[in-house]
Symmetry: C2
Subunit: 135 residues, 2 copies
DNA sequence: AACTTAGTTGACGTTAACGTCAACTTTGTT
DNA sequence: AACAAAGTTGACGTTAACGTCAACTAAGTT
């Protein structure tokens, strides 16, 4: 294992670093979200794949399906010399931005409600201690 | 069907209004997220259930599981006279707020990246038309 | 050379969130 | 009364996203 690896990681190393299982990483690959090089039969993960994995995990945290995430990743791979591709790209990017902004609005609504709940809870506790101070 | 219904809806009416299937609504009930009254055997949905359903759907848009959503809905039902409940409630509310804020951060990161992608795409199109203008 | 230690490829199992019947009962209509 | 429409309860099917094995192989170790 004293072979020079530089920026490269094995699947279990990447898994630990990212906090997921190797199985999950292979699964993402089977869905076309990752395409690691191979050293013989063994998968080798480099900077690019690490970044992609982070994007995948972030997408998951936002509740997107792996299919959606795949389309998102594709946005980074468009050929800037193909006019048609760029036009399609722009459309998809704009759609994605719209979705994310409405999701953000949902979050803000929820946060406001939770602030309300919290305020009520604090008020209830105040009442309680005021009540206790009576005796 | 000319019975007075007032604020009340039948399951298919509620389903249409909310854009989901009746099956989904029954499913949410089976998970304890909704508890409609009954007129004999038929479910009756009133203002409260409609609001709850909206909260469920918003939770889904944010990528939460029905279990998570159930805990979220519980936050609205805490008894303000029970000290222990309120303390627990505050803790849960604060956790939820934290999660949502980090989710919001993920969204903002993604939005920034997408802006970058868009800018690159627009630049590529500019180059292209400039190129075309050469001839 | 014999072994342990990753890593690899199937292949089947599992959970969440419904979809899709089938078989009834209940209502309102003709 | 007879009937179509809507609602109800099972119960089985389906998809996504992995978990869990089993059986092999390649790579260093002793």
């Amino acid at each position: 294992m004293t072979t020079f690896l530089g920026d490269m990681l094995t699947i279990t190393e990447l898994a630990r670093e990212a906090g997921v299982t190797a199985r999950a990483i292979r699964f993402y690959e089977s869905k076309g979200l990752l395409t690691p090089r191979r050293a013989g039969t063994t998968r080798i993960y480099t900077h690019r794949e690490r970044g992609r994995l982070q994007l995948i995990l972030r997408g998951k945290r936002l509740g997107f399906s792996l299919t959606d995430i795949g389309e998102y990743l594709d946005l980074y791979d468009a050929d800037p010399t193909q006019h048609d591709q760029i036009v399609l790209l722009l459309d998809k990017v704009n759609n994605r931005i719209g979705e994310l902004e409405s999701q953000k609005a949902d979050i803000d609504d929820t946060l406001k409600e939770l602030s309300g709940v919290r305020a009520q809870a604090l008020a209830a506790m105040d009442d309680e201690s005021a009540q206790a101070a009576q005796f």
